[in-house]
Structures are given as C-alpha cells and as structure tokens.
C-alpha cells in the first residue's frame, strides 16, 4: 500500500468519525464538564 492510499484511508475514517453525530454528543458533554470544572475551581 503506498503512502497516498494510506493517507486516503486515514482521511476516510477520520471523516466518518467527525461526521458521526454520536461522536459529538460525548465531545459536547466532555467540553461542558471541563468548563464546569474550571468554573467551580
């Protein structure tokens, strides 16, 4: 497998992750948790 093909596959799964709504739910909850920690510290 050459470098271009490998890069293409990496890009594909990365795109699949960031366009997956399931991914953003935990991300939003994590960011909210960090913001809360910052505010209560």
């Amino acid at each position: 497998m050459d470098r271009t093909e490998k890069d293409g596959i990496s890009r594909n799964w990365l795109t699949s992750v960031i366009t997956d709504v399931h991914f953003w739910v935990p991300v939003v909850v994590l960011v909210a948790g960090l913001l809360l920690l910052k505010s209560i510290h």
């Binding site: 699949s16 991914f23 739910v25 935990p26 909850v29 994590l30 948790g33 960090l34 920690l37």
Partner: protein, 434 residues
C-alpha cells in the same frame, strides 16, 4: 474433544442458544464487575494520610495504566490489539475520548463529595445508569421491540437500584453539612451525565466488534493524560511532585486499588458488549453494595451507630439486590437482538467494516481472517515492567496501622476470586476473550 462452546465452530448466523449463552455471560460479567469495582475501594481505605484527592486519583490511574497494558498483553497479546486497530482504527479516538470523560467525571465527584457529602452526591451520579439506558435506546436500538416486561425490568430495576443506592449512601455517610450545595449538586449531576455518556463510546466500539481488551488499552491514554493535565493545572507541577514523593509509603495501596478496579472494569466492558449498556451499567453499579460490605465487615465502618442506620443499610441493600435481579432477568429477546444487529450493520457501513466480521465479533467468535492470538517478547516485557513497578512500590509501602477484621476480608476476597475464576473460565470457553 472440542467443547460445544468452542466459538470457532459456531454458525455465522447467531443461534438462539448461542444468543442466550452470550446474554447469561454478559449478566455474569456485570455481577463480577460489581464485585471487583467494589473491592477496588478496599486498598484505598488503607490510605488515611493527608494527600490531595486529585493526587489519590492520579496515583490510582497510574495503577490503572499499568494494569491496562499488562493484562491485555498477558491474556491475548499485543498482536491481537494491533490487529484490532488495523481493522477499525477509528475506535482509538472513541476509546481516548471515553478515557478523557472518565477522568473529568472522577474529578467532579471529588468536588461533589467535598461540597454536599457522599450521601447526596452518590445517588446523583449513580443516575448514570438511567442516562445509559436512554443513550442505548436512542443510538443503539437497545430495548427496541423488547416488550413492556423488559422495559419494566430494566427501567424499574435501575430506578429501584438508584433508590437503594440513595439509602446506602445516606447510611454510610457522616459528612458535614453542605458547604456549597448548588455547586456540589451540579458537580455530582455532571459526573453522572459524563459517566452515562461515556458508555456511548463503549457501545460504539463493541457494536463494531472491538475487543474490550483493545478498547481499554487506548481508553487509558485518555484517562491518564486527562488526569495528569487536571492534576498539574490544579496543583502545579512542583507541588504535585512534592505530594507524590511525600506519599510514597501509600502509593502501592492506591495503585493496587487501580489494578483491582481494572479487573472490574474489564468485566464491565464485556457486560456492555454482550448485554448492552442498558443492562450492563445497572448490573455493574452493584459495586456500591460490595464496597459497603468491605467497609462494614472488614473496616468496621458504622460501628456504634444506631439501629436506624443499620435498618437503612439492610433496606438499601435489599433494594439494590432487587434492582439487580430485575435487570438480570430482563435479558434481550430475539427481536431486540435483531435490532442490535441492525445497529451493528449501520456502524459497519459507516466505517466500512466487513459485516460478517462485525457479526462474528459480536457473537464472541473469531472471524475467518483473524489469526490466532499469540504472545511475543514485547508482551512479556510489558508484563515484567508492570510487575516490576508494582514490586518496587510494594517494597516502599508500609503496612497500614489500623485494625482490620481478617476473616470477613478472607471471605470477601475468596468470593471475589471465585467470581473472577467462574466468569473468566466462562468467558474463555464461550468467546476465547474475543
């Protein structure tokens, strides 16, 4: 003669008997997870020096890190983990994300206990099982076409467990009145939301067939990285180092707590894989019951308290057991499992995974292209390094100066080890840890 449970001989389509076997296995894993997660509290109770809770968390996570690299290497070998990553590289992101969420939630619980006490905080964050049920239903087709009896069993069981947890927490708490009630309530609720949401990555990984042993290996990077970042940002690097060196006598006990916790968490992961998050989380939340058993029987907690406290403990324990029983007897029916399969196929299409491969892994079987797991020199090196670190810290540790009840300790240890043995053997025979 190969066992009838030998996974390689299974059909590609999940048979009802195989499905039933996996359901029972998942329930057994949930029970075992509860016992080991509860036992993980025991070594931490030996630590009574004035160490910051953040440092305690960080040290436990270091123990967790060592265990999460050495145990999978010992059980299946790192070659199996590498194969999982090559097959589904996107799951690394999910695992690291889940680890980060765990660390933030754990830190929030420290603030919650400080501000409102364990009695109010625990039931609030224990509501994570209800959120897990919601996410399981919404995103992963869990409890779809399950019928009202299953719904009542799972949701009712989780609610009864929350009520039991509340009673136990009130009975076992001797906290001062709340200093910052609103802040504490927010922290506890947020910890519950974070932990409930953490199960989205768990289920995501297992629906696409990732091995729990691989998942936890990457989970721990997020966990340790985030915990270290939080500890440094809250305490500063130099004070953190000072506290770590000052606490070297107790580092071993905390790391041991982390190690035991990993064993419980591994079984929790297998429970999430085979019975879903809607059932796996409530079952493993029975850890509170085990933690209380260790506290009362071994460490003599609640000694000298009134009858009403003991009544609360007995009532709360019965409620917890009732809830666990209700969830355990609500295993998924064939039509619900068909819904799980539809969710798995959706994931396979999205992430370009072979559907038969995903199906085989969901069934706890090796797929056709999988090579037999084997251990290399690297695996033995990882195990040796982790063991060496534990031995070094054990040599530095001091025996705790507190009175312990050894017979109950021996009995609880034996019960926990028997569960480990029975569940481990059943997992091996049924899935070969796939």
């Amino acid at each position: 003669m190969p066992s009838v449970l030998t996974p390689q001989h299974s059909e590609s389509v999940q048979e009802p008997s195989r499905a039933r076997k996996l359901q029972l296995l998942g329930i057994l894993c949930g029970f075992t997870a509860g016992a080991w997660l509860g036992a993980a509290e025991a070594p931490t109770k030996l630590v009574s020096v004035g160490v910051s809770p953040l440092v305690i968390s960080l040290i436990m996570v270091i123990g967790v890190f060592l265990a999460r690299w050495s145990l999978p290497a010992l059980i299946l070998g790192t070659s199996s983990i590498s194969a999982d990553v090559r097959r589904a590289p996107h799951l690394i992101i999910w695992a690291v994300l889940a680890g980060c969420i765990w660390a933030v939630a754990n830190t929030l619980t420290i603030f919650a206990i400080r501000d409102i006490g364990l009695s109010i905080a625990f039931p609030l964050w224990n509501s994570n099982s209800l959120l897990g049920i919601f996410w399981g239903f919404l995103f992963f087709n869990e409890l779809r076409q399950a019928g009202w009896r299953r719904w009542a069993g799972v949701l009712g069981g989780a609610l009864v467990m929350c009520a039991g947890a509340a009673m136990l927490a009130v009975a076992s708490s001797a906290q001062a009145p709340a200093a910052h009630p609103t802040r504490g309530v927010w922290a506890a609720l947020s910890a519950g939301i974070l932990w409930g949401t953490m199960y989205i990555p768990y289920r995501k990984a297992y629906l696409t067939g990732m091995n729990p042993l691989s998942f936890v290996t990457f989970f721990t990077f997020g966990e340790l990285g985030m915990m270290f970042a939080l500890a440094v940002s809250y305490l500063g690097l130099a004070p953190l180092w000072q506290q770590l060196t000052g606490a070297r006598d107790v580092l071993f006990w905390l790391m041991l707590g982390g190690f035991i916790w990993v064993i419980g968490d591994l079984f929790q992961q297998y429970a999430a894989k085979y019975v879903g998050i809607s059932r796996g989380i409530p079952l493993s939340n029975s850890n509170q019951l085990w933690g209380l058993l260790w506290g009362i029987l071994v460490f003599g907690e609640l000694r000298g308290l009134g009858v009403s406290t003991y009544m609360q403990v007995i009532g709360g324990s019965l409620l917890m057991m009732l809830g666990v029983g209700a969830v355990a007897f609500s295993s998924a029916t064939g039509s619900e499992q068909a819904q799980w399969k539809a969710a798995a196929q959706r994931e396979a299409r999205r992430y370009d995974l072979a559907e038969d491969d995903v199906e085989a892994r969901m069934d706890g079987r090796q797929s056709a292209g999988d090579s037999k797991p084997s251990r290399s020199a690297l695996d033995w090196l990882l195990v040796a390094v982790a063991t060496g670190v534990f031995v070094i810290f054990a040599a530095m540790a001091h025996a705790p100066r507190m009175s312990l009840h050894w017979w109950p300790a021996a009995f609880l240890s034996a019960a926990t080890l028997i569960l480990l043995f029975v569940c481990g053997v059943t997992l091996w025979r049924t899935t070969r840890f796939n």
